[in-house]
Amino acid sequence: MDKPSHLSVVIDLSLTQWTLCAQSTNPPGITLQDFLSQLLAFLNAHIACKDENTLAVFGAFPGQSVMLYSSTGEVTTTTAESTDANTYRPFRTLDSTIMSSIAERLDSYDGMTEEAPIGLVGCLTKALCYINRTITTALSSSQGGEGAAASVDPRILVLSVSPDQSSTYIPIMNSIFSAQKLKVTIDVGKIFGAENVFLQQAAHLTGGAYVQVERADALLQYMMMSFLPAPAIRQLISVPTQDRVDFRAACFCHKRIVEIGFVCSVCLSIFCQPVPVCSTCRTKFPMKTLQRLRDARPLAAPPGNAPPRPPVQKNGTTTPARPG
């Protein structure tokens, strides 16, 4: 029998990026309204799959992270519950809770001040804390006799529209490692914008899928096909795999994403150029090494903020073909 599964969804709610996404024509974009209605359909599908399935939704707002909904009732809203004979009650609670808490938050942004980076790290760590807590409680309760919800198959789905924030490199990596420890799968749906280096690594290291949504108007189709099946079922069906994984890191000094870095041998801090003293552990490096490294440095000017990797042309390894 298939086991119940847990899904935590992290929604990127950066208003700036959603505005850009809605205006985009190539590839065709999608408005936040359309996105949310498709998302709700997907979430309803998840809880409809199995009665014991659990769901938690986290919103990554500019500068903060909020739990929007959880099926175990951690979030309650004050909105009066109107009864609708045509809707299944749990669907209705889910939809109204999520929509009202999003609206409540978004109203408070005036759009005048510059937008803070979204609280993706907060969402990821909160989702992990929540999963850690639900799993431990489920385990201890199953030892108490009723082994019902003993093993949930937890996974986190990140729906992203924002570019990489290289300042969050270390916390994101830490979250990935804890997800590995908890055996949580991280899926990523990239709805708008360039490839996301850190999220690619997250999906790769936890065995999840990284899906670059090419046609945002067909988002629901993507989500139903790639993200609805639980990890246990995915071994039987063919879900989209990642083309390439970019293993670049961010330097500690300027938070740039680098492909060749200078690393302190004591603490493994990464720098984008040879530095005389490690800023993390205060180790002084020998002048000899500095000179040698400066001489050996590639001629190119220091790279800008997270430049896209040039397409690979050597060995015929460009654009991998899907097997038949």
């Binding site: 992270s65 951690e74 790290v121 907060g122 760590t125 909160k126 992990l128 804390c129 929540y130 850690n132 807590r133 969050t168 270390i170 916390p171 990596m173 830490n174 979250s175 490692f177 804890s178 908890l182 690594q201 290291l205 795999t241 390439r244 994984v245 970019d246 293993f247 670049r248 890191a249 680098v258 492909e259 870095g261 200078f262 690393v263 302190c264 041998s265 004591v266 603490c267 493994l268 801090s269 990464i270 040879p274 530095v275 490690c278 993390t280 552990c281 180790t283 490096f285 020998p286 490294l293 050996a296 590639p298 990797r309 690979v312 050597k314 060995n315 991998p320 073909a321 899907r322 097997p323």
Partner: protein, 452 residues
Amino acid sequence: MAPPAGRRVGDDFVDDSDSDVSITGLDDETSRAKAKGKGKAIDRNKKDKGKAKAKEQPYAWEASYSRSWDTVQEDERGRLEGAVQDWIARGRRRRLLAPAAAIRRTIIRHLVLVLDLSSAMLDRDMRPTRFDLMLQYAREFITEWFDQNPLGQIGVVGMRGGLGERIGEMSGNPQDVLKAISERHKLEPTGEPSLQNAIEMARASMSHLPTHSSREITIIFGSLTTCDPGNIHDTLDECLKDRIRISIVALAAEMKICRDLCAKTGGVFGVALNEGHFKDLLFELIPPPAQRAVARPGAQGANLAADLMIMGFPMRLPDTSPPSLCVCHSQMKSEGFLCPRCLAKVCDVPTDCDICGLMIVSSPHLARSYHHLFPVKPYAAVMSLEETPDPSKRCHGCSVAFRDTPATMLGAAGEGMSPLGRYRCPECQNDFCTECDVFVHDVVHCCPGCGK
């Protein structure tokens, strides 16, 4: 057949040592000792090894049949809350005691694990045998070691028949190392061990390493003899010259030469009292040793040269890409990693590029050790909510509601624990529950409130 070790002591009491009655006298004694110890047997073991030898923690071969659940004490209402609380509180105290400043650690480590495969390992004083237990713990040790030392490499050497035997080459891939010791029948213990031969072999396999990497030898030693071709003190001097650190976990008893090897090279020496203590001693060797200060007076120059290394972060090609030749084995392969400098394809990372010599590592390899550098500040236990004007109702991590009324804490166990189950981050002033406090500090290493 030797009788099962646990009964040997009982032989004095009853002549027919086959019957279980022989244990009773001893059993009584230990249970009385336990009642006195109030379930703190584990704690005491760590605090005071000398004392522990006396009664609560007998040597494995003189122990009675022990029931592990006896060490957990129920409170008067038959619940385990006290024991669990005690355990959590101990973890919290340990964290608070840890120094706040980042310690310098040797993260690029090279270790040769030397396993005793002499006939002394067939002794059954540790269940099922010393040999099987050693293999089991060695597997767990390797897994955990790679988890904490991502850029490290492990080689395995065996000691049997008076020779050193190379079992696994130096490798940075946990699977390779585990595979080397997976086949039990190839490692059957026999003959005498030779410390000198094994150490020489281990030393030779680390002689090519760069100066900034640490070199360590960890020996699991079950025998009381060593059968050496020359003077082992010469080997010790060579190890000192190469700055190799030797640590030994002995299973039988202390030997002068073992203690000397460890003390002179700056390693750790321990004699395992029983199965649990064996594991403790072995696992204490896992965390990166804090690097001794470079400018140590009297030491020969810079002790461990700190250096800046150039590294490349590769791009991984999927299984579905068109096959091409790799530069390391010249094989047609689809998957692989591209060197960022010369775009050559290599099979596995971390490695040095065969074309341009760049050290290629994937960023997760490095990032796995960053939690040592930027630990989360310990949360403060909230004792009362009087100073907090508007306390949050739910944990900032998992959103589970806090309890309203303070719980009664059980004696000294509750020291450093919040009666409200609230722990506050000094940076972002958010409150977290007990579960999240432990989880954030031990696993995530990143506060959900401040994202640091």
